[in-house]
Amino acid sequence: MYDTSLWLSGKEFKSRLIVGTGKYPSFENMREAIEASGSEIVTVAVRRVSLPGQGESLLDYVDPKRYTLLPNTAGCYTADEAVRTCYLAREAGLGTLVKLEVIGDSRTLFPDAIGLLEATRTLAREGFTVLPYTNDDPVMAKKLEDAGAAAVMPLGAPIGSGLGIRNPYNIKLILEAVTVPVIVDAGVGTASDAAIAMELGCDGVLMNTAIAGAKDPVAMATAMKLAVEAGRLAFKAGRIGKKLYATASSPLEGVPEWTS
């Protein structure tokens, strides 16, 4: 397929779809869905081990040699918590590419912009490749880029809502505002939502619930793979302009006459 790759922290990724590992019916189903999605980057949460003995590990099903892990800071409500979580992830051997979340409200899970900016600055300075989950705000996106974010990840709609890309115009403005990759994170409900994000010109899409919560996660993962590719190709191809009235597709000349 003719397309450029997605580059993050000096690493090349052919797939522009990033998938999560939460809420699957089983580890086995998750493994199959990730495989079907074609994703090369996989998000994980950092949580307490169950004691004693720890039990089954997620990474028995997601081979860290094959996939680039993207630990997140989900559940962190302050910059301090998020930064410490990233330090833990790094020490656990999960790498320094992080999906930074600083949540400001438990009902909407909207980001705390001030905490997010602070944590981005700290982590970038510490050598992390920071991908902040942010509001669909072009001003904030620019500030995050200036603070050292390696990409910005605006939400399409609230996490897990499946409402799709609620403000495509803001996503467009973000694409104009920053030079780093723009990855829509959160809000995707079905394949067309992912395609819309890519048609707008986004560099990638990150999703979890849309796949894991589908009746058939493996089928939905396949649909998302195709949607991201289709949307990307349509963007590269350059769509036609929108017009109010019809423009004939067939020649207006040479129409046979039937009048007697």
Partner: protein
Amino acid sequence: MIVTVNGKPMELPPGLTVDGLLSHLKVRREFTAVALNREVTLRAEYGTTEIREGDKIEIVHPMGGG
């Protein structure tokens, strides 16, 4: 001594190191990290970091998330 491990009080023999604690709890070392009183313990220091009465320890690993 009584310490808090992952939010739960736990009775442990005195003089235990982080390394000893992980062995005691049968926790895998790979892809696991430890924070002792909010500070991340470096892997290289597991064997020399002693746990004291009242310490708060977090042991984490990757889990499903998005």
